[in-house]
């Protein structure tokens, strides 16, 4: 039984190449729950939370490059929260202050929960995930990385190195429904982001499908009904928009909520987010 601390990304590549069955430990907020309740065997663990490069982020013109071990807390507060407000909003709803201090953006992606709160925001923004191994780096769309319930497409010897997140010029919203005001797993969530210059709107849904998903039909439809110069939306389009958002969801019934409630609320969230960003024309 081995515990290893990776000192750099090169070191990490080597350790994984050597033995791809080694498990990666970043913030531990999902990992340790599994260990504590004996759902995860720990034989060889590599701690990656000491790798400085993975804990940095930088602003490169029209995007930020966020290291995979940047915590929810750093995303929630400070400069990142002004650059990507919706991501900060989602970070604020995750877990508790304690969890936000150690949980990481890389962990949220790698765990790939259907309810992972950052994932809809990253999808809507068109974020790209940099995945690395000794063989090199490849770039994945979020929905190429996340392929199913708690399933990611990482190869055995790969790790998430960073996430490139576009910095858009326009209002953005993240809304999350849960039965409690703190420490709650979302029952439905929605991210809506805009870029006024590019006349771009991105909408993604959480907890209403096996993996968070873009609501592309709703995006196309509403784009035709938005007047970008005045930031207005045609009032006659709202109902249909809401319906299209609902139709892009395929939720289940579980002990947390019903598919009927999830479907209903996701439409409401879509409408509310839209009307926060755009005024009704006239």
């Amino acid at each position: 039984m081995n515990f290893l601390i990776a000192s750099s990304t090169e070191d990490l590549c080597e350790l994984l190449a050597e033995d791809p069955s080694r498990q990666l430990l970043a913030g531990g907020t999902d990992f340790m729950v599994e260990v504590n309740f004996r759902h995860r065997d720990v034989s060889e663990v590599i701690a990656i939370d000491r790798i400085e490069e993975l804990k940095q982020w930088r602003h490169d013109g029209d995007s930020v490059l966020i290291g995979s071990c940047v915590t929810y807390r750093e995303i929630e507060r400070g400069a990142l929260s002004t650059l990507i407000p919706a991501l900060a909003q989602s970070a604020r709803t995750i877990g508790s202050p304690q969890i936000r201090n150690t949980g990481t953006i890389g962990g949220n992606l790698a765990t790939a929960s259907p309810a992972g709160d950052m994932i809809p925001v990253l999808l809507a923004l068109g974020a790209l995930v940099n995945v690395r191994s000794r063989s090199g780096v490849r770039q994945l769309q979020v929905d190429e990385l996340i392929t199913g319930v708690k399933t990611n497409s990482l190869r055995e010897d790969e790790f998430i190195e960073s996430v490139r997140v576009p910095v858009l010029r326009g209002p953005q919203e993240f809304l999350k429904v849960g039965p409690r005001n703190a420490m709650v797993i979302s029952v439905s969530s929605l991210a809506m982001v805009t870029d006024i210059d590019r006349e771009y709107i991105g909408i993604a849904l959480g907890s209403v499908s096996a993996s968070p998903c873009r609501s592309t039909d709703a995006e196309s439809f509403i784009s035709e009904n938005i007047e970008w110069n005045s930031m207005t939306v045609r009032s006659g389009a709202i109902d249909n928009f809401e319906r299209l958002v609902r139709e892009s969801a395929s939720p289940i019934d579980d002990h947390r909520s019903s598919s009927a409630y999830r479907t209903h609320t996701i439409g409401v969230l879509g409408r509310r987010a839209l009307l926060r960003i755009f005024r009704l024309e006239n």
Partner: protein, 752 residues
């Protein structure tokens, strides 16, 4: 009354906000909870539990498990030295399942090993050949269904028939209501340590609510005389009824005696949910009939409580639910029928409120329905029907003590209503989820009132022993009263200060070397054990006076905390007089007897009653079904306040639990299995869910017969807080909402 407004009073005597004597230890993290105990050479225990709600056990094979390195013992039903049966009111549950399991989580085998992970691995390696049976999970069907236990499926059937069954009023309202399964969810999970002793007995250190009841059940199961089973209280991390029943007690002692070593066991959160009883889910039908002025004429009800697999305190919970079903109102005619039934669901038993909670939710909904039907203000309707001293309950018992229901209701309704404020994000439903804007919100206000019986009922001979020991003027108090956080230890100091003028008594370790203090439950300990301590201290004063009189020839009179000689010479304070003297007074305190209920549910079955009312203000986002509780205000009939800050603490904590039942807390059962036995999905209110709790008034009308005139405070806050919140949501939405906890979709999809 808030400390910030009033400042800190000096701590002394009864009626002051004395600070708790264990506060420093608890603040430092030094206070030892049962989870924190350890011993040289100790082993770790673990329990194998049934994964099925109903199954025959064909075979248990633990040979592989026993072979694991570090495993010291594996025990099953065959190893129970005495009677393999126990139960709080009535023994009907095996210590370890023998031929059949009746609920998911029922203990089947126990393991002792040198590391908790080894013990868990051993449990995983035990093979049990189960033959699954169809579980009985519907409480209504249980009444007629084939028995799942030799004692049958009806644990108790109770009828209350009062007055004229044919009486009828002008206005009638009817409804069906349901209460889900709430859990006590105390933070300190079940834990303890047992030491085998050289005399063949066992020393058990455990967190519990009633040492002597545990001791008796353990002794019987171990086939040991009671004096060889010594139970010592370890620090309790909350109880709320969930520690009244035996959990790991016998298991620990069996493992300790078998291995000859100390054995510690700690349930993790998941196992804790399986390892204790829960609040009874309830199905209730009510029909209320009133005359056109709103005076209640008749109330009828049918109540079914799902007791789960074993009886626990189902019988007493049912009695409470039925006796107090109609609420704090005068009801001349009543027909209440109740069943406590057995199913293959998890066993249910005591939880703060104890049956009154379930029927209060339904009855208060009915009162609001009646008010609407009569076009009456809901508070006015309640005031019109409010019980008062001298009135008769539906069990035929006359209230001889205080019953200031009118004062409770009036003071609450006069309390200012919070202003509507367009606050920040965190003031809106949905909070940081950012789901809601001010335009989506509708405010609602609701009231509810309740009655709770204090102490045990139906002829139970309840008593509490206490001892006041003085050695050279230093005072120690011995009592087996369990401190679960409610502040009894503070009260002891206050009583000693009040009666002897001595500050900081030593509170001796709580164990079975003294007789029983009864259970820390039923809002009884201030009256019973506070009463016993008071009596013991008074006995010391009397003995002191006698001693002084014998020494000095003259008579003494007690005036306050001084002893005044009748011959006019200088008085002396009791505290000073005690110096250099020794006393040891051991007393037993009882309340006046109660009596069983007859076949019509009539009888003087209860000791005393406490009343409370709650007003909730909520903001509702109807489209999403999200609720923010803005404020809960309350007035409570307390007899006399002995410690304002501690009283406030009981009220705030209880109201938060009532809020939990209204909006958040339910153990979800799927075919008898709990789907959410963890804190991720069993949702306790966080600080962001709990509103400011306003105390409109403490109504202090001293209760005759109660030590200091004080009524128990702990349970009333839990009872009418839930229906007040639901009433407020009904006010905001117009929806019926007949089930708690309310899920967001009950609002959002209502009628859709």
């Amino acid at each position: 009354m808030s400390l910030l407004e009033e400042g800190i009073a000096s701590a002394a005597g009864v009626g002051i906000s004395a600070t708790r004597p264990d506060g420093k230890e608890k603040a430092r993290g030094d206070f030892l909870f049962s989870n924190d105990l350890s011993a040289e050479d100790m082993l770790w225990g673990q329990t194998l539990r049934s994964p099925y709600p109903s199954a025959k056990i064909r075979k248990i094979d633990f040979s592989q498990a026993l072979a694991i390195d570090g495993v010291h013992a594996i025990l099953t039903a065959d190893d129970v030295p005495g009677e393999n049966i126990f139960g709080l009111e009535h023994p009907d549950q095996p210590v370890l399942a023998f031929d059949i399991v009746r609920y998911v989580g029922e203990p089947v085998a126990i393991v002792a090993a040198n590391h908790p992970e080894v013990a868990k691995s051993a449990v995983d390696a035990i093979y049990v050949d189960y033959e699954q049976l169809d579980p009985l999970v519907n409480s209504q069907e249980a009444i007629e269904a084939a028995p799942i236990h030799p004692e049958g499926n009806v644990i108790r059937h109770l009828v209350i028939n009062h007055g004229d069954p044919d009486a009828v009023g002008n206005v009638t309202v009817e409804g069906e209501y349901e209460v889900g399964m709430q859990d006590q969810a105390f933070l300190g999970t079940e834990s303890g340590i047992a030491f085998p002793s050289a005399d063949g007995g066992v020393d058990l250190h455990i967190s519990t609510q009633w040492l002597h009841s545990d001791r008796d059940q353990v002794a019987s199961a171990l086939n040991l005389p009671e004096d060889l089973v010594r139970v010592t209280l370890a620090g309790v991390g909350g109880a709320f009824g969930g520690r009244e029943d035996v959990s790991m007690h016998v298991h620990l002692c069996m493992l300790a005696l078998h291995t000859g070593r100390p054995v510690k066991m700690v349930y993790d959160r998941n196992e804790s949910f399986l390892g204790h009883v829960h609040r009874h889910p309830a199905k209730i039908w009510f029909r209320h009939s009133a005359d056109e002025s709103g005076a209640l004429v008749k109330v009828e009800a049918k109540v079914i409580l799902d007791g789960g697999a074993y009886a626990s305190t189902t019988s007493a919970v049912l009695a409470n639910a039925c006796c107090f079903s109609v609420g704090p109102y005068r009801v001349p005619n009543a027909l209440i029928e109740g069943w406590g039934v057995r199913t293959n669901n998890p066993p249910c038993g005591a939880m703060r409120g104890f049956g009154n909670v379930q029927t209060c939710f339904a009855a208060e909904a009915q009162m609001d329905k009646l008010a609407r039907a009569l076009s009456m203000d809901p508070v006015e309707l309640r005031l019109l029907n409010a019980l008062k001293s001298g009135d008769t309950l539906i069990t035929g018992q006359k209230i001889t003590g205080t019953a200031p229901v009118k004062e409770v209701l009036t003071s609450l309704s006069e309390h200012p209503i919070p202003k509507g404020v367009e606050g920040d994000l965190l003031e809106l439903p949905g909070g940081t989820g950012r789901t809601t804007d001010n335009s989506h919100v509708k405010r609602g206000i609701g009231f509810a009132a309740s009655i709770k019986n204090l102490m045990f009922s139906e002829g139970f001979d309840d008593f509490s022993e206490a001892r006041c020991i003085v050695v050279d003027g230093e005072v120690s108090i011995q009592s087996a009263c369990v401190e679960v956080g409610q502040g009894f230890v503070t009260l002891v100091n206050q009583i000693v200060e009040e009666t002897l003028g001595v500050s900081e008594a030593v509170i001796l370790p709580v164990d079975t070397s003294i007789g029983s203090a009864g259970s820390t439950s039923a809002s009884r300990q201030t009256w019973m054990s506070g009463g016993a301590v008071l009596k013991a201290c008074e006995a010391v004063v009397n003995a002191l006076i006698l001693e002084l009189q014998n020494e000095n020839g003259g008579e003494y009179e007690k005036v306050g905390l001084n002893l005044v000689p009748k011959d006019g010479s200088d008085s002396i304070s009791i505290a000073v007089a005690l110096r250099g003297r020794n006393f040891d007074e051991h007393v037993t305190h009882r309340h006046l007897p109660t009596f069983p209920l007859d076949h019509n549910g009539q009888g003087n079955a209860h000791v005393s009653f406490a009343f409370a009312a709650h007003r909730a203000v909520v903001d509702v986002d109807q489209e999403l079904g999200l609720v923010r509780v803005v404020e809960i205000a309350t007035s409570q009939d307390v007899g006399r306040i002995l410690n304002p800050v501690q009283a406030r603490g009981q009220i705030e904590g209880g109201v938060a639990q009532g809020l939990g039942l209204a909006l958040l807390e339910e153990l979800v059962l799927i075919d008898g299995k709990i789907a959410n036995a963890n804190f991720t999905d069993y949702l306790l209110p966080t600080a962001m869910d709990t509103p400011p709790i306003e105390i409109a008034a403490f109504i202090e009308q001293p209760e005759p017969g109660a030590p200091f005139g004080a009524k128990g405070i702990g349970e009333p806050p839990v009872i009418s807080s839930t229906p007040a919140i639901v009433a407020a949501i009904r006010d905001a939405t117009g929806f019926e909402l007949n089930r708690v906890p309310i899920k967001p979709e009950d609002i959002a999809l209502n009628g859709l």
